[in-house]
């Protein structure tokens, strides 16, 4: 069978201890039997490991940070597009999604397709909107609020019991066991990710996640529940296992169908000792552990690519329970010449 040639640009090449999803997304796409794919990496930092994984990434271009705005990003994407003739872009960072969603029409106008949630969907599931979201869609969520200053934090903490979770606007979450710790994490989070900082009730239980893919019409195309087995000090899964949990799948189905979610997402959940599921966060993109889904029988990156290209994708109906992933680190040896070429020309 002739495989369709397609050029796909992917961000999130930071395959570090708190990894971006780019590399596992690329692995999934490369395993597709339907596509002959050229992968273009889009990187923010010169040391994102994926840049140097030449068997996975054909070429990488540096792009401006989200803080520089969508116009700077579009200008750079135009330059890259003039050389690479991109068909699809798969953004993988929460922080860049706003710009890519805003640029969706402009990108489509020059022939680059994306498959992203709408701005309303993106904003609605924001960490700071979670209590409203939980009420609207009938989902258990921890009590929480957004805070903008230390006095604000002080007031909020009066109504919560320790420990509380202090969360950055986009990433990072720390448990605080005292006011002093909460203030310290507030300062850390606000300087790193900006305001607001989210203060959330700490729910005790087992951390479980669901990866899911919605077609934008309310259909759940793919979903796999996973239990974290090994968690790093940054709260990231370093090992996990697929589980059989209809209640988690039903929750994913409910959220996708009610919101008509378009694209990949991850539900971060806690299962309490009395068997209640609490929704901690909805990440609006494919998570870094997506390759577990590929290994368990649902190639979500490939399905996402097909949806992006307007192809028909039948919902997955099964997956392997008890399939595990175990992450590892690996030192690549890189010649300085490659690094210097990237640093001076912005491409490699």
């Amino acid at each position: 069978m002739n495989r369709q040639k397609v050029t796909v640009a992917v961000t999130g090449l930071n395959n570090i201890d708190s990894p971006g999803p780019g590399i596992p997304v690329i692995r999934g796409i490369r395993e597709s039997k339907d596509f002959d794919v050229r992968i273009i990496g889009l990187a923010y930092e010169h040391l994102e490991p994926g840049i140097y994984m030449r068997d996975l990434v054909d070429k990488t271009y540096m792009i401006p940070y989200p803080a520089e705005g969508k116009d700077a990003l579009f200008k750079r994407l135009l330059e890259i597009h003039s050389t690479e003739n991109l068909n699809v872009i798969i953004p993988n960072f929460d922080a860049e999604l706003f710009s890519f969603i805003k640029l969706e029409k402009q990108l489509a106008g020059i022939g680059i397709k994306t498959f992203l949630p709408t701005l309303e969907q993106f904003e609605e599931r924001n960490k700071s909107n979670l209590p409203v979201y939980g009420e609207k869609y009938g989902v258990n969520v921890p009590a929480g609020t957004e805070v903008f200053s230390i006095p604000d934090l002080n007031n909020t903490l009066k109504s919560l019991n320790y420990p509380v979770m202090i969360k950055g606007k986009y990433y990072d979450a720390y448990p605080a066991y005292s006011l002093e710790q909460a203030v310290s994490y507030f300062t850390k989070m606000s300087s790193k990710w900006g305001l607001p900082v989210i203060v959330q009730e700490h729910i005790k239980g087992t951390e479980v996640n669901v990866i899911a893919l919605g077609d934008g019409e309310g259909n759940l195309i793919a979903a796999i529940p996973m239990r974290k087995q090994y968690i790093t000090d940054k709260g990231k899964a370093w090992g996990g296992i697929t589980i059989e949990d209809p209640s988690m799948l039903n929750l994913a189905k409910k959220i996708i169908s009610q919101t008509k979610w378009k694209g990949g997402l991850e539900l971060e959940l806690i299962r309490t000792a009395d068997n209640k599921l609490y929704l901690l966060e909805i990440n609006p993109r494919i998570p870094a552990w997506v390759y577990l889904a590929v290994g368990a029988g649902q190639n979500i990156p490939e399905a996402l690519l097909k949806l992006t290209l307007g192809m028909n994708v039948e919902p997955f109906t099964r997956y392997d329970v008890g399939k595990m992933f175990i992450r590892y680190s690996w030192d690549m040896i890189v010649d300085l010449e490659l690094f210097s070429r990237l640093a001076t020309t912005g491409e490699l």
């Binding site: 996973m226 239990r227 087995q229 996990g240 296992i241 697929t242 589980i243 059989e244 329970v321 008890g322």
Partner: protein
């Protein structure tokens, strides 16, 4: 007492709960008892079978069986 239907027990005593992702390793006796429970045997029958097979008095078997059942329950391996 019933073991949850989806609990997988392998020949080497590895027990996997697909609902939670938890896994356990059993020694031969544990595996033997778990399989008896899975077959639907009652505590009295299991005690009798163990007494016939091992040189242990009834009270000791009952005590260990009770502890074992409690462990199974705490670890979500038994039907509610």
């Amino acid at each position: 007492m019933l073991i949850k239907g989806n609990i997988a027990i392998s020949d080497n005593g590895f027990v996997f709960n697909p609902s939670t992702g938890d896994s356990f390793t059993m020694n031969n006796t544990g595996k033997e008892v778990l399989l008896m429970i899975k077959e639907g045997k009652k505590a009295g029958q299991i005690t009798d079978l163990l007494m016939a097979k091992y040189d242990v008095d009834k009270i000791t078997i009952e005590r260990y069986l009770d502890d074992f059942m409690n462990d199974l329950s705490v670890n979500n391996l038994l039907e509610d």
